[in-house]
Each structure stands twice: as structure tokens, then as C-alpha cells.
């Protein structure tokens, strides 16, 4: 086979693979509404696998068998969850009830009409009513993602079992999949899988660290400000911080809107702004230096488009999660194309 022929075949193979990937992404997007109840538990299981794998590897290095390590970690997590629910169950239930309290716009409208724009009071009132109804619609849309009580119970069984199996046999399944590939693509795909595994796990751990740090600080700040549902609001602020550029603003808007709907107090809203700005400053000064770049920097325009897409698909939860999901997909695509490019080079 001549060098020119090999290059031609390599170029057409690359194009074919690109077309297959594009078709797969389109098919996945089209069938997501039908299989969302399967995707979410699998995604959670994969996330937990990435989280627990380093701990289990540490146990293995100390001489404990992998199965025993996995069993120990899962039992510990389930035990801690049950303990947490036992201690804070009533608090968690009251946090979740806040969704029902959002439907009444009266306090929200009365709060924003206190702003010193007397000549525009009617306009502000109308805008406020519209904003409130959109906000409540987004929150209600998010609740439809979650399944009914019966299937929720099955989820609670499915997730631990699938996490256990992925931790125990994940490497075996990967090896079996790679063994099926023809020799031409074997090394490339093996390299690709390992790079994706490494970069994705690094990225997830970094983002989790950021979200948890911000959430803990926000929960503390909102607790000190005597905000009701401080846990839920703190978690929202933490998750919103995963969105580059707009995240802190979005988180602040959501929390302030909820507070205004519940209390109608502008002073409290101002105090929240100051608290969240302080948290952002602390993050920029202390935490941001600990985060290394993952070389996926989405353009602000793409982020806005993703935020609107997320709100359309899944409401408030969509707004918070769509950008991290997009970043993961972008990371995967980048790695795939880099490997295709590297392995297309001929001598």
C-alpha cells in the first residue's frame, strides 16, 4: 500500500468516524426524553464510581481485596446517608417543601415595588409578575425530572447495585470492549479511554471541590442571615458556581428571588448580595489558585445558549447542570479528535 493511498484511506476513515460520532450525538439527543429515567441513574452511578475509585485503590494498596473495599465504602456511604436522614430528616423535608411556597407572588411584588422608581411602578409590577411566573415555571419543570415514589424506591436500589458492579468490573468491561476492536484502532481507543478517564475524573473532582466549598460557605452565610431554607439555597449557590462567567450571578438571582418571594424583605436581599459577593471574593483569592485548568474554556455566548437550552429542557435544574454536562461532552470530543489526528499521522 503506498503512502498516498494510506493517507487517503486515513482521511476518509477520520471523516466516517466524525460522521458516526455526530449521528450518535443526534440520536442520543432525540431519544433522551424517552430514556431519561435510565440515563440519570446511570450517570449518578458513573459519578459515584469516579468518586469512590481512588478510595478503593488506596484500600487495595494496603492489601485489602477490591471486593471487600467496595463493599466497605458502599456500606459506609449508605450508613452515613441513613444517619444523616435520621438526624436531619425533618430539616431536609422542610427544605424540599419550599417549592410549594413559591406560588404566591404577593410578597415578591410588594418588595420590588418598594424600589425608588415610582413613575415606573406599573411596569415594574408587570415585569415582576412575569418574572415570578417564569421562575415558578422553571422550578416546577425541574420537579418533573424526578420519577414517582415507586420508581424512586427502585432507583435507590439500582444506584448502589450498579455502582458496586461498575467499581468491581469497570476495568474488566473496558478491557472486553477494547479486545473487540480491530488492531488498527486498538491502541488509539485504549489510549483515548484512559485519557478520558483521567481528565474526566480530575475535572469532576475539581468541580466537586469548588461546588462543595462554595455551598458550605453559602450555607453558613445564609444561616447567619437567618434565611429560611438556607441549606437548599446554599446548595443552589454552590451548583451555580459550576457555570463559568454567569454562575455566581445566576446563583445570587435565584436565591434573592426565593427570599423575596418568601419574605418580601429588600434589606435581606441586600444582605444576601453582600454575603455572596464576599464568598466570591474569598473564592477568587483562595480557592481558584487550587484549580488547574482543564483546557476546556467555553465561550460566553455558548454558555448563554446552553443556559437557555437547559432551562427549556429541565427548568432550574437544567440551568444548573447543562453547562457542566456540555463541558464534559466538549472534553470527550476534544480528546477523540486529538487521538484521531495523532493516529492518522503516517511515516
Amino acid at each position: 500500500m503506498t503512502l498516498q493511498n494510506e493517507q487517503n484511506i486515513t482521511t476518509s476513515t477520520t471523516k466516517n468516524i466524525f460522521n458516526i460520532i455526530l449521528l450518535t450525538v443526534i440520536v442520543i439527543i432525540l431519544i433522551i426524553p424517552y430514556i431519561k429515567y435510565i440515563i440519570f441513574p446511570i450517570a449518578i452511578s458513573l459519578f459515584l464510581t469516579v468518586l469512590f475509585d481512588p478510595i478503593i485503590i488506596w484500600f487495595e494498596s494496603k492489601g485489602l481485596k477490591r471486593v471487600a473495599g467496595i463493599f466497605f465504602v458502599i456500606v459506609l456511604v449508605i450508613g452515613c446517608s441513613i444517619f444523616f436522614i435520621y438526624l436531619f430528616g425533618s430539616l431536609v423535608t422542610s427544605e424540599l417543601k419550599f417549592i410549594q411556597e413559591l406560588n404566591d407572588p404577593s410578597l415578591f411584588i410588594s418588595a420590588i415595588t418598594q424600589l425608588p422608581f415610582e413613575k415606573m411602578n406599573i411596569v415594574i409590577q408587570k415585569l415582576g409578575t412575569n418574572f415570578h411566573s417564569i421562575f415558578v415555571h422553571l422550578v416546577n419543570k425541574s420537579t418533573h425530572i424526578f420519577p414517582s415514589h415507586v420508581s424512586l424506591f427502585l432507583l435507590l436500589i439500582f444506584i448502589p447495585v450498579s455502582t458496586y458492579l461498575l467499581l468491581k468490573d469497570g476495568h474488566y468491561l473496558k478491557k472486553k470492549f477494547v479486545q473487540l476492536l480491530p488492531n488498527r484502532y486498538f491502541e488509539m481507543v485504549l489510549d483515548l479511554i484512559n485519557r478520558i478517564d483521567l481528565k474526566l475524573s480530575q475535572w469532576i473532582k475539581q468541580q466537586l471541590f469548588v461546588a462543595m466549598s462554595i455551598a458550605c460557605l453559602a450555607i453558613l452565610a445564609l444561616y447567619l442571615l437567618n434565611i429560611s431554607h438556607f441549606i437548599m439555597n446554599g446548595i443552589i449557590v454552590g451548583l451555580a458556581h459550576l457555570i463559568p462567567f454567569y454562575g455566581p450571578f445566576l446563583g445570587a438571582i435565584i436565591v434573592i428571588t426565593i427570599t423575596l418571594i418568601e419574605t418580601g424583605s429588600l434589606k435581606l436581599a441586600l444582605a444576601i448580595i453582600i454575603a455572596l459577593a464576599t464568598i466570591k471574593l474569598l473564592y477568587n483569592l483562595l480557592l481558584s489558585k487550587m484549580i488547574t485548568s482543564n483546557s476546556i474554556n467555553l465561550h460566553p455566548l455558548i454558555i448563554i445558549i446552553m443556559i437557555f437550552t437547559g432551562s427549556f429542557l429541565w427548568g432550574l435544574i437544567g440551568i444548573l447542570f447543562i453547562v457542566p454536562i456540555t463541558t464534559i461532552v466538549a472534553l470527550l470530543c476534544k480528546e477523540i479528535f486529538e487521538r484521531l489526528r495523532d493516529y492518522s499521522i503516517s511515516s
Binding site: 485503590i57 494498596s61 488498527r184 491502541e187 489510549d191 495523532d342
Partner: protein
């Protein structure tokens, strides 16, 4: 395909048996060979099938269990130049295990070959999971690389002697 995805223990046992035939792994116990079998890949190549190409990113080495492999380099001046022919229990691509350089040559199967591949990401995971076994495997790989270096040193000395005998170098 179904058999490949089934939890068939026989595949694993045959890989352990294959590893036992490789002289480099004589110092490993059976339990350690079983652990090593979890991370190695057994690949079959047809005659004239390319195993890896020059300038491709390399992530691991292969040990020849059956058949023979031709290694050649493509250079500007000499075109395709055969570097060596390797047979059973020889190894190829070992440098890719220790550094992230691209492949320095192309390897082609001269007949139907069975190769056992050991790759860097799996080796790094073994170092994290089983440090004692990983140390043994790294010592074996160091012996492999050092024997190749010794072989190249010997070849270089022979070439220099030939050149000095023909009075080209003074």
C-alpha cells in the same frame, strides 16, 4: 461476542498460561501472574499486518509469544530501512512504556503472530493498586530495556570494529 462479554474464566487462565511461557516472568508467582493477566492484552496479527507505525503516539510494549516481527524505520535519506527481525519471546516498543515519545520505527508481522501487550496506563494503575507486584514488574521491564541497550551497545562496537578494520576511522 457474547462469549467475550461473558464472565468466562477460561480466557483468563489461558493468558496466565501464556505468561508462564515467557522467560522474563519466571520470577513471578502464580497469584502475581493472575494479577498481571488482568492488565495485559493478547492480540493476534495476520501476515503483513502493521502492529504500530513510526511517529504514532506509543503507549506500551509487546512481547512476541508466537511468530516473527520485522521492524524498520523510514528516513529521508535511506527510505525504508530494516532495523531488526524479532522472534518468539523478543519484545518491541518497550521505550513507549517509560516515556511519551512517538514510535521510532514501524513493526510489521512477518507471519501470523500472537503478541502480549503491556500498556502504560494499566501499569500506572497497577503501581497504585499493588505496589509490591508493580515493583517486581518494573524490575523485569528494566531488565528488558537494559538487555536491549546491551544488545545495541554490542552492535555498535561491532560496527566500529568493522569500520576501523576497513581503515575508514583513524
Amino acid at each position: 461476542m457474547i462469549r467475550d462479554f461473558s464472565r468466562n474464566g477460561n480466557n483468563h487462565v489461558s493468558i496466565v498460561t501464556l505468561l508462564q511461557t515467557i522467560p522474563f516472568f519466571n520470577s513471578l508467582e502464580k497469584g502475581e501472574l493472575r494479577e498481571l493477566a488482568r492488565i495485559v492484552y493478547v492480540r493476534w496479527f495476520k501476515k503483513d499486518e502493521i502492529i504500530f507505525r513510526q511517529h504514532e503516539p506509543g503507549i506500551g510494549m509487546y512481547i512476541i509469544c508466537k511468530g516473527s516481527v520485522k521492524v524498520f524505520r523510514n528516513s529521508e535519506f535511506n527510505g525504508n530501512e530494516q532495523v531488526s527481525t524479532l522472534v518468539k519471546h523478543d519484545f518491541i516498543g518497550e521505550l513507549s512504556l517509560v516515556d511519551q515519545q512517538r514510535r521510532s520505527a514501524t513493526a510489521v508481522a512477518m507471519e501470523e503472530c500472537c503478541l502480549v501487550g503491556i500498556f502504560r496506563p494499566d501499569l500506572l494503575q497497577l503501581i497504585n493498586r499493588k505496589p509490591k507486584l508493580a515493583n517486581k514488574v518494573l524490575m523485569i521491564l528494566a531488565q528488558i530495556i537494559s538487555s536491549r541497550l546491551q544488545q545495541k551497545d554490542d552492535e555498535l562496537i561491532q560496527i566500529k570494529e568493522k569500520l576501523s578494520n576497513s581503515d575508514i576511522i583513524r
